[in-house]
């Protein structure tokens, strides 16, 4: 088999090839390490490559397979297959930087639960991926450690904050990757890079070992080349974890079971607020064409309104910044992180360490969060934001009692050029369509739906009721099969 074939194969095809003995896990691992060595100088997706660790894990998979010890069922799908992680997911013995000077040399003493689960499924970790510093941003331009370029156009950003994860998958450097999504950080880069990204229901995937940004919003999710791959990876991640009190058992964790059931009779809500003036024409047209495809397959399109949409972004910014200001207080040069060399007392140690260790965007959000929680602002901002969040959740619950899913663009535009969005408020607007799912704790999936300006990918977002991941995958798969002719990577 030619090397290029390995790069384009789906997870199912890779697992079949391993099972048949067409190639070994070591050969697969060496292939992707070679791809990274050849291409990542241009893309810049990886912050850390764990080559020796990966080859040892691949050899262990080959030994287990030779002894007849490879797993059955859902776990078999990932056995011996390489993957990579956003660099805010802790990996024992492998540095975890959050793309920050603050944690540039941090080597965790434990694995995140998702890492433990993927290791148990025979996943082969190739390395850690670039991101906006502490996951704060939507372009990966806020990484303090590296520049990541969009594989579809190297002059453009890959989106963020999981930009390294989406770029690595889109460039064929790794079969799948994990990102984290606080306000759209899996879906936004998936849309910009033309791949599939899922933000699961809050509590579906354990956050243990994910460096916290905003704990009531954060979720880990998979980024893949196609829909079925995404469902397979999420199946391996979900489940209650005693280390995360907000994690829950998923009531229907087999996300591939309904993939082929089609969309006939499903009611798909189209909220007008997501197609307003801030949505570029090429994105609007591409997503509405996708809606027509679903209608041609038997889905019923339902125009509707989400009145709280207008305040969702402000509520998100206040709540996420407030939680970040608290969560990031641990990075003070004593408990965690960079320690300033020059200080006169403990107070100046804290202030200087944080001043030197954090980048501009992180400082901006810590300051905003501290302000929102301070006397005189708490009632006007934080309290109001929590009320707006509750109202948004009520409206979405009502909509999803009459519709099966909600369809919208993922991001208002295609990927922009580096440095094109210097204005902080303008950059935030890119999160408008994705933050409602985080505020309401709902699952939301981004998948490619054609191209827009300059031939760049456009993403559409499917949002559903809590624990409706299987339904989102079913609708996405129907669209993908109709427009690409099936599992096009198989």
């Amino acid at each position: 088999m030619k090397n290029n074939d390995l790069t384009s194969l789906s997870l199912t095809a890779l697992a079949d090839g391993l099972r048949r003995g067409d190639f070994s896990s070591r050969e697969l691992c060496e292939h992707f390490l070679a791809e990274i060595a050849a291409k990542d100088g241009e893309i810049g997706a990886f912050l850390t490559r764990s080559c020796s660790h990966a080859l040892a894990a691949a050899d262990e998979c080959d030994r287990r397979r030779a002894r007849g010890e490879s797993p059955d069922g859902a776990l078999a799908a990932l056995f011996g297959i390489p993957y990579a992680l956003k660099d805010n997911i802790c990996t024992k013995g492998i540095r975890t930087t959050c793309a920050s000077r603050m944690l540039e040399h941090f080597v965790p003493p434990y694995d995140a639960t998702v890492v433990t689960r993927l290791s148990g499924a025979g996943g082969v970790l190739l390395g850690k991926l670039n991101m906006d510093e502490f996951a704060m941003g939507a372009s990966t331009e806020h990484s303090a450690l590296a520049v990541t370029r969009n594989p579809r156009d190297l002059t453009r950003v890959p989106g963020g904050s999981s930009g390294g994860s989406a770029a690595a998958v889109a460039a064929g450097l790794v079969p799948y990757a994990l990102g984290s999504d606080t306000g759209g950080s899996v879906r936004n880069p998936a849309a910009f890079c033309g791949v599939v990204g899922m933000k699961p229901t809050y509590g579906t995937v354990s956050r243990y070992g994910l460096v916290a940004f905003a704990s009531s919003l954060d979720q880990i999710g998979p980024i893949t080349k196609n829909v079925r791959d995404n469902a397979l990876v999420l199946s391996a991640l979900v489940g209650r974890d005693a280390h995360d009190a907000t994690s829950q058992e998923h009531p229907a964790p087999d996300f591939c079971a309904d993939l082929d059931r089609g969309v006939r009779g499903l009611r798909i809500g189209i909220p007008s607020e997501f197609f307003g003036e801030d949505c570029s024409r090429c994105v609007r047209d591409a997503v509405l064409r996708a809606a027509d495809v679903l209608a041609s397959l038997g889905a019923i399109l339902v125009p509707l309104s989400l009145p709280s949409f207008d305040v969702a972004l402000a509520a998100y910014y206040v709540i996420s910044s407030a939680e970040a200001s608290s969560n990031l207080s641990r990075f003070d040069g004593v408990r965690y992180g960079h320690r300033a060399a020059d200080y006169k007392d403990v107070e100046s140690l804290y202030c200087r360490s944080r001043g030197e260790g954090f980048g501009s965007e992180v400082k901006r959000r810590i300051l905003a969060g501290t302000l929102a929680l301070s006397v005189g602002y708490y009632d006007a901002y934080y309290q109001k934001a929590t009320e707006a969040r509750a109202r948004l959740r009520e409206e979405l619950t009502t909509i999803l009692s009459t519709c099966d899913i909600i369809l919208s663009p993922t991001v208002p535009t295609v990927a922009h050029r580096f440095g094109e969005r210097q204005d902080h408020a303008q950059m935030l607007l890119g999160d408008r369509y994705t933050v409602p799912a985080n505020l309401a704790g709902l699952p939301a999936l981004s998948l490619p739906c054609g191209t827009g300006e300059d031939g760049l990918p456009v993403g559409m977002q499917l949002m559903g009721a809590p624990f409706s991941e299987a339904l989102l995958y079913r609708v996405a798969y129907a669209y993908e099969r109709q427009t690409k002719g099936g599992d096009d990577y198989e």
Binding site: H243, Q248, L367, A385, E387, E394
Partner: protein, 100 residues
């Protein structure tokens, strides 16, 4: 209180040492953020509840193995004889006062 004082007070609360350039930049940004936050007042939230927290489930309160002690100590910025050494948090005067 003027804007310059505001940003310095906020930086102290946030435990962030900022340069003069950063103070100017962030003061402007925070003004924009305050204006942006005012959009929350556009919504009629009079009947909204304050929202419920996500359901949580605590694990049993039973002894269990913890992380390796050596690995944890290796992460400390400075340590001595099995203890994490920290910067003095009391001044000499405060220390004397606490001992009397």
């Amino acid at each position: 209180m003027n804007e310059h004082m505001d940003i310095e007070a906020l930086a102290r609360l946030s435990r962030l040492a900022l340069t003069e350039d950063e103070k100017r930049e962030f003061a402007t940004d925070l003004e924009a953020m305050i204006a942006f936050g005012r959009t929350l007042n556009k919504a009629d939230l009079s009947t909204a509840t304050c929202g419920k927290n996500a359901p949580t489930s605590l694990r049993a309160d039973e002894p269990a193995p913890s992380l390796d002690r050596t690995a944890i100590m290796d992460m400390a910025a400075t340590s001595s004889d099995g203890f994490v050494t920290v910067v003095r948090v009391l001044s000499e005067a405060e220390k004397e006062a606490s001992e009397t």
